[in-house]
């Protein structure tokens, strides 16, 4: 199976549910295939490629499409059913990098003090303490847990620095879901996800989405905070060489802090998820 054939079997976000008015159309590109989108009067989305209509579903405030007749099921985020959360689709950011590099960057904590200085991290609090990574057998997901990191402003709602706890899930090659300490509720975790739409192997559209407990910040402020953070990541992502993710060891040198990234690369390789990857074809 080619890298692209493997990638075809997943669902990908192509628009936010609330952004298209009835009758509105839009063009986009998924896995090098031009798509036509049209919002229908009854609140659905028609998506087609080469005049063939595609399967569409509504999940996590986004429209998801697949180019396959026989796709894998869409991953689950149980917290999406918790109606007391604020659900925040943050819009889209075009990034000139491999979709896999975008996911890997989201799984990385060691960059916080340098890329998100004084917000998600700050010197001298640079150490990454030992954490755990495993492959969850039931769902075949990468799970990283017991991550803690000092953050000057962990979220829009945070007042002052806190040691934040993180858990990461990678339920699909181009999706990462993060659970992190909620500054406003001790018993719950905020959810921040990155849904990546692969345009081609070196270009992606990234749709961040959040499910938070935050009753004070305005929607606009929450979106702006997330976009501000992500634009800092974009500068990194567009300057990593090579643009594709080196999936085999050798070209890049990881340390213990990169355990999530190492497991992610192995997991991609094991499933044959080479779309956007440099080696292993």
């Amino acid at each position: 199976m080619s890298a692209r054939e493997h990638a075809l079997k997943y669902w990908y976000p192509v628009a936010m549910v609330n952004e298209l008015a009835s009758g509105q159309t839009r063009e986009t590109v998924l896995l090098e295939t031009p798509l036509q989108l049209e919002a229908t009067a009854d609140g659905n989305l028609n998506a087609s490629a080469h005049k063939q209509s595609l399967s569409v579903q509504n999940a996590f405030d986004h429209w998801w499409v697949t180019l396959s007749d026989n796709p894998y099921p869409l991953f689950k985020v149980p917290e999406a059913a918790e109606t007391d959360r604020r659900f925040v689709p943050c819009g889209v950011v075009r990034v000139l990098c491999s979709p896999l590099r975008a996911v890997e960057n989201f799984l990385d904590i060691a960059h916080f003090p340098f890329v998100h200085t004084d917000v998600l991290g700050a010197e001298p609090h640079t150490e990454v303490y030992k954490y755990d990574v495993k492959i969850d057998d039931t769902h075949d997901e990468v799970i990283a847990s017991n991550i803690r990191f000092y953050q000057p402003q962990a979220a829009k709602s945070a007042e002052g620095g806190i040691e934040t706890q993180y858990i990461y899930r990678v339920p699909a090659p181009m999706v990462a879901v993060l659970y992190k300490t909620c500054p406003q509720r001790e018993d719950a975790m905020d959810v921040i996800a990155l849904f990546v739409q692969p345009v081609d192997e070196e270009t992606c559209d990234v749709w961040p989405w959040m499910a938070l407990y935050d009753d004070t910040s305005s929607m606009a402020d929450l979106i702006q905070f997330q976009q501000f953070i992500f634009l800092q990541d974009r500068t990194i992502l567009e300057n990593q060489l090579p643009r594709k993710l080196p999936i085999d060891p050798g070209l890049e040198i990881p340390t213990r802090a990169d355990l999530t990234s190492v497991s992610y690369r192995r997991w991609l390789k094991k499933r044959g998820a080479y779309y956007g990857a440099l080696e292993g074809r």
């Binding site: 150490e127 060489l241 090579p242």
Partner: protein, 225 residues
Amino acid sequence: MTSHPVGLSGNLAPRQVMRATINQFDIAVWRSESGIISAWDNRCPHRGMRLSHGFVRGESLACAYHGWHYNCEGFCHYIPAHPELTPPKTVRPVIYSVIERHGLIWINPTAEARAHELPDNLIPLRTLTFECDENTALHAMSSTAQHAGESFEPGDTLSESPRIITVNTPAIANGIIIAFHQCAPHNVIAHVLVQNTLSSAAQIDVSRWLESVRRHAEANVSEYL
């Protein structure tokens, strides 16, 4: 490969980092606090970040992504995520040979860098970037002079690759040296050196002349491509 003049020494102050390209080579050039210059493959061995986005801390270059520190020999000596760890000697970007001479920075990505021998009585004036190729820039020099009704004498070619020429514009100055560096197919850098006896008024005139050459060259791009 021959050595290429990628920039003026005076434009890379201590604690500064710049990016240079020579054919397919993407290069980070930086100067430490004490003045030591280094040229490395522009890729951090950790996760591939361009080192030209890094920042200088004393005698080290720190990568912009995770802050790994590399000393002037290129060895990584500090990984902020693991402050106690001594990084293995293998954590090192590819190092290129670089020297400074005649006020220019010369890099050779495949062999030892050597400067082209030029007269000793020169001072570097400035660097101009042209959005065109070398030949278009050269052609624009004579046509610009004609437009201005000035005499212009192409002088000697001191080197073919990189192209280094002398030019004379008798109304302004003689013995101007221009060292070209083609950094991309349609992007050429011209380093201008003049005689150290040239008055500052004449230096300004040379600079102006080059600017008008550039305007002509860029306007003519479509004609000569």
